[in-house]
């Protein structure tokens, strides 16, 4: 049993490099590193870079050992300029390579936002396909590590709102590896959001309980070698008949805990990819249950939950028995001391489920 993280761990994980070629990955960090390792091995144009990712292997260790194995020209450190990282990636992709870059925390992507929104996302469109931008931008996201407002944000809606970007957020090591490899294969720019609170183990929002490792989780062990989890496909994590819970990233685990603990027969859907969205799976489920709760850690107003609620309303209107509820972070910056009052934990998810079930 690991100790409870009551402090901000940036350089987390085990520093001893697991024999990446020999044993399956048993943390999300290892799974991501494996995916990068496979991509670097299979495709000589894949190039990994970002702040501290080279010699050191990233502050979360997701690139540890890759420079040593693949060479400094395949995995290298950059100056502290997010604009530079993404702008350079776009140019490199225009040349014909496959950059997979890391923004150290999603909270630090803003200097790169112009390059992402005005350039990466629209290059294909504005050149009618003459120039394209097959880049992957990885960034740790979400809270739960006492990182306060600059190490906790969930900016997914700032990306899903941008036409031309794909947006992915895995909830476990198996998906993380398969989705990252799909993202790298994708011909368009992909924003790959990594819930940092899940790096070393699943987290169901019960911050006062001991941390459990991925090792004991059914989705915790990512197989060796190349495999793909396709973009645009959700996964049903729990079958149920009473209502549908839509979640992604950390909130998948929170939602599962909430419905198990309150014995609510919910169907819990892990979206995995926010854009393109697997509307088919969502609609089939909500038409069956007639009730829907949307959960995310990001702030509520104009969050991705609003898009989901609108789609469910439009596609399932005649099947709905209750208004769609959203559970989200409060519309404030992410606080430090009051982290657990902010975080939409299982109690809030369960309360929303109950409210939705009470409507006759």
């Amino acid at each position: 049993m690991m100790s409870m993280p009551r402090c901000l761990r940036i350089c987390g994980g085990n520093d001893s490099l697991r024999g990446t070629d020999a044993m399956p990955a048993t943390t999300m960090i290892d799974a991501i590193r494996d995916a990068l390792d496979v991509a670097l091995t299979d495709d000589p144009t894949v190039t990994v870079f970002g702040q501290d990712v080279g010699y050191f292997g990233g502050v979360f260790r997701c690139t540890a050992g890759l420079q040593k194995k693949h060479g400094i020209d395949r995995c290298f450190d950059t100056p502290i300029s997010e604009l530079g990282i993404v702008g350079v990636a776009i140019g490199m992709a225009a040349y014909g390579r496959k950059p997979v870059v890391e923004i150290q925390f999603a909270d630090y992507m803003y200097p790169a936002y112009d390059q992402i929104v005005s350039e990466a996302a629209r290059l294909r469109y504005r050149t009618a396909g003459e120039f394209t931008c097959p880049i992957v931008i990885r960034m740790p996201t979400g809270g739960g590590i006492f990182g306060a407002q600059t190490h906790s944000q969930s900016p997914e809606a700032l990306f899903t709102h941008v036409t031309g970007l794909k947006v992915v957020m895995p909830s476990n090591p198996i998906d993380a590896k398969g989705l990252l490899l799909s993202a790298i294969d994708d011909p368009d720019p992909v924003i790959f959001l990594e819930p940092k609170r899940l790096y070393n183990g699943p987290f169901d929002g019960h911050h006062d309980r001991p941390v459990s490792p991925w090792r004991t989780h059914p989705m915790g062990e990512a197989p060796l070698g190349r495999y793909l989890v396709p973009l645009g496909q959700a996964a049903i994590r729990r079958k149920g008949a009473a209502l549908t819970v839509l979640a992604y990233g950390t909130m998948v685990h929170v939602a599962l805990a909430a419905v198990e603990e309150t014995a609510i027969d919910a169907e819990v859907i892990d979206l995995r990819t926010l854009l393109p969205l697997d509307l088919e799976t969502i609609v089939a489920s909500v038409r069956k249950t007639g009730r829907c709760v949307v959960v995310h850690e990001a702030t509520l107003t104009s969050g991705f939950g609003a898009e989901l609620a609108a789609l469910v309303q439009a596609e399932c209107f005649w099947h709905l028995h209750a208004p769609v509820e959203r559970v989200a972070g409060w519309d404030t910056p992410y606080p430090h001391t009051n982290e657990w009052d902010y975080f939409p934990g299982p109690a809030r998810v369960a309360a929303a489920c109950r409210r939705v079930l009470e409507v006759q």
Partner: protein
């Protein structure tokens, strides 16, 4: 067109040594103390370009302050002694807060070890009402300005005594009255804001100046370049400080510096006079900072100052530097320990002794512990009196909009 003779290649800058090798600072060119000239503050920028490649040092190996910068330094004995006291206080404060973090009284901490002289000394170039736009490694500005230490600790603990209500990461202090602008976690943002603050002061016909702060690594952010172009273009009354502590987490300073030779030389392309200073020499920092602040006060324009120092500790409590640099590197740092160097100077001047130093250390630690007791009586991150969750919803806007009021009620407050 001539055919290409061989494939193109890139250059990947690497530090001189990595873990396992002997520390090597032979690449650091160290001119003797007192050897650099002191130009008049109103010299044209193009006549001072050499200053960006020199190193202003006052304290020699015997603790004597020498050369033209020392000769013109107006700093009485009491000020020199309180300089040492400020640095010792900052070091003791860091030690206690580091321990508190290890005891899980807070989530995170960042030390100044080895860099104490810069922020403690710079304070002497400022007047009441001037504004610093600091990074997380300039708490010496608060200590030297007499900010209550217990309040600093309350911020680190995020307890009910924290002026910023547990909203910010530990060490992200803010104090308007002490000339200390709120620290941002987003690197570099404050640099250009300092320029704007100083423009505001000048536009208002005021006499207040601003000081911008940034680390070596963060000079790569566009905010730094925007700050320089605005500061240069409008001849803004601002001092632009770069703390080159050799490391940006695991990345050595050479990557952000590129082929510029020094960080100070970044100013040259913008026509900004630039000084390069021994950051472990308290007196050199005071002298250079005053030179630059005088330029600002006389509306002669901005000055870029690079302080050469070394980050002895890890980047933060989340970092273990032995993974990327030789563990003995700090002990080999040729500019020494800023505390020891000023102490030696005071002893050489007959103002101080080993005994008095030991006594002062005990006294200071007593003060720090008393402050810590005071702060912990209120609470720590996980116990005692903490800001009410209701306060989470305050200050998002001047007036709480209805949707936020509803959310606060939903949260049970």
């Amino acid at each position: 067109m001539k055919p290409v003779e061989r494939p193109l290649e890139l250059f990947f800058a690497e530090p001189a040594v990595r873990p396992g090798a002997e520390p090597d600072f032979s690449g650091l060119d160290l001119p003797a103390a007192g050897s650099l000239r002191r130009p008049p503050v109103d010299s044209p920028a193009e006549e001072m370009r050499d200053m960006a490649f020199g190193l202003i040092r006052l304290l020699d190996d015997d603790g004597q302050a020498v050369g033209p910068w020392a000769d013109t330094l107006d700093l009485d004995d009491a000020a020199r002694m309180s300089g040492l006291r400020h640095m010792m206080t900052l070091r003791a404060y860091d030690a206690r807060m580091l321990l508190a973090q290890r005891q899980q009284k807070t989530s995170f901490y960042m030390q100044h070890l080895g860099e104490e002289a810069i922020s403690c000394a710079f304070h002497l170039a400022l007047r009441s009402g001037d504004m610093n736009f600091p990074t997380y490694r300039q708490a010496g500005l608060l200590i030297a300005s007499g900010y209550p230490m217990a309040t600093m600790m309350c911020q680190v603990y995020g307890n009910d005594g924290d002026p910023v209500r547990g909203r910010q990461l530990p060490v992200f202090y803010s104090s308007k009255s002490h000339g200390f602008f709120s620290i941002s976690g987003n690197l570099g943002t404050q640099y250009v804001q300092a320029v704007g603050w100083a423009m505001g002061s000048a536009l208002s016909g005021d006499d207040k100046i601003a000081a911008a702060w940034i680390g070596d690594g963060s000079t790569a952010e566009s905010d730094f370049h925007a700050a320089l172009v605005f500061a240069s273009g409008y001849r803004v009354p601002v001092v632009l400080n770069i703390v080159n502590n050799q490391w940006a987490i695991s990345t050595f300073q050479g990557l952000a510096r590129g082929g510029a030779g020094t960080f100070a030389a970044r100013g040259l392309g913008f026509g900004i006079p630039a000084l390069r200073v021994d950051g472990n020499d308290y007196l050199a920092v005071v002298a250079a900072a005053r030179w630059a602040s005088e330029r600002a006060r006389r509306s002669l324009g901005p000055t870029l100052i690079e302080y050469v120092t070394y980050r002895v500790a890890g980047h933060s409590t989340s970092d273990d530097p032995s993974a990327y640099r030789p563990s003995g590197e700090s002990a080999c740092w040729p500019l020494g320990d800023p505390l020891m160097r000023l102490k030696q100077h005071l002893i050489a001047r007959g103002l101080w002794s080993e005994d008095r130093h030991v006594q002062a250390e005990a006294e200071i630690m007593g003060e720090v512990q008393a402050a810590q007791k005071e702060a912990e009586q209120i609470g720590t991150l996980h116990s005692g009196r903490r800001p009410s969750p209701a306060e989470m919803f305050n200050d998002v806007y001047a007036e709480m909009p209805p949707h936020l009021r509803r959310q606060r009620q939903l949260a049970g407050y």
